[in-house]
Amino acid sequence: MNNKYESNKWQEVINWVQTRSLFMLHYCTGCGAIELPPTMTSRYDMSRFGIGPAATPRQADILLITGYLSTKTLRRVIYTYEQMQNPKFVMGFGSCTINGGMYWDSYNTIKQLDKYIPVDLYIAGCMPRPEAILEGFLKLKEKIETGSADGYKKYNKEYEKYKKNQEKVLGEVKRRQ
């Protein structure tokens, strides 16, 4: 009975609610993690948009990669990403996740995050300030609302491509599911 128009209506409601209540799991790699406490506390207060911290990947919607990602940490980030439940989103903080940033020629940091896990939104800056982070969250909300934040769907579809990239950098990666 629920034809295309109907299901899309219901999906809109879900997206609307999803934007109003986001639980974020911040993976404190690199120097970005120190930007999050000011964003959470009284001066910038992200919880007024319904965004709050989550303790474990099972409860989280957004995975924040806040800084340079060494190969050892990438392995842990991949396990955590796969433990999170759909719909899930990834946000990359700072230039180190975009193109390697100031560690561009280091032998043990990855240069481009979205080769290994699908990233919905990057925030430029060599550690973006809380205002930029809030701007990023609002941008992510718009992407969720329009439905274009579909990194997790891409991950399932092009799983082999991501797996090949990951194995290239990490050697073998143990999978759970």
């Binding site: 280091s106 032998y107 240069k111």
Partner: protein, 162 residues
């Protein structure tokens, strides 16, 4: 509570130092031959230089030598002492001081990771910091970082760039 000069006089009298230098207040560096290093450290430990801050290594590729630096500190004298020695780069082998300071086990593993120096007597030499690393140890001067990065990772292609 010894001052720097008294310490230097004491060390000259008891040990045969290769050279010594007072870098600045409360900071002295001395140099040993390879063979006398362990006995020197033992003696220094008895002279209440009980704190081994770290073991670091410098790659002198021109004169084909590795330089091992043992940072010691004494709580009474408040002097930090760096004990240096040079070992041949080709053989890159030295004796462990695990029995003097337990923590040396991990410093030696770390140096083995990044410089490839094997410490005889320290049985556990597997990877501490790196993971599945099959190139030459990365901190050596002859390790071509840029070449490795180009091979391992690929750069972000900005539009218009080939």
């Amino acid at each position: 509570m010894r001052s720097e000069n008294e310490l230097i006089k004491l060390l000259n009298r008891d040990l045969n130092l290769l050279s010594f230098k007072k870098l600045r207040k409360q900071n002295i560096s001395i140099r040993f031959e390879n063979e006398e290093l362990v006995s020197g450290l033992n003696y220094l430990k008895s002279q209440n230089y009980i704190h081994l801050a770290t073991i670091s290594c410098v790659d002198w590729i021109e004169d084909n030598q590795f330089e091992l630096i043992y940072q010691l500190f004494s709580y009474e004298d408040k002097i930090s002492l760096s004990v240096k020695t040079r070992i041949n780069r080709k053989t890159s082998k030295f004796v462990t001081i695990k029995n003097l300071w337990g923590v040396a086990k991990y410093y030696e593993r770390d140096i083995h990771d990044f410089f490839g120096i094997k410490f005889t007597g320290n049985d556990n030499m597997d990877e501490l910091i790196l993971e599945n690393w099959n190139e030459i140890p990365p901190m050596r001067k002859d390790f071509k970082t840029r070449q490795y990065v180009d091979k391992k990772y690929d750069w972000r292609q900005y539009h218009g760039q080939e």
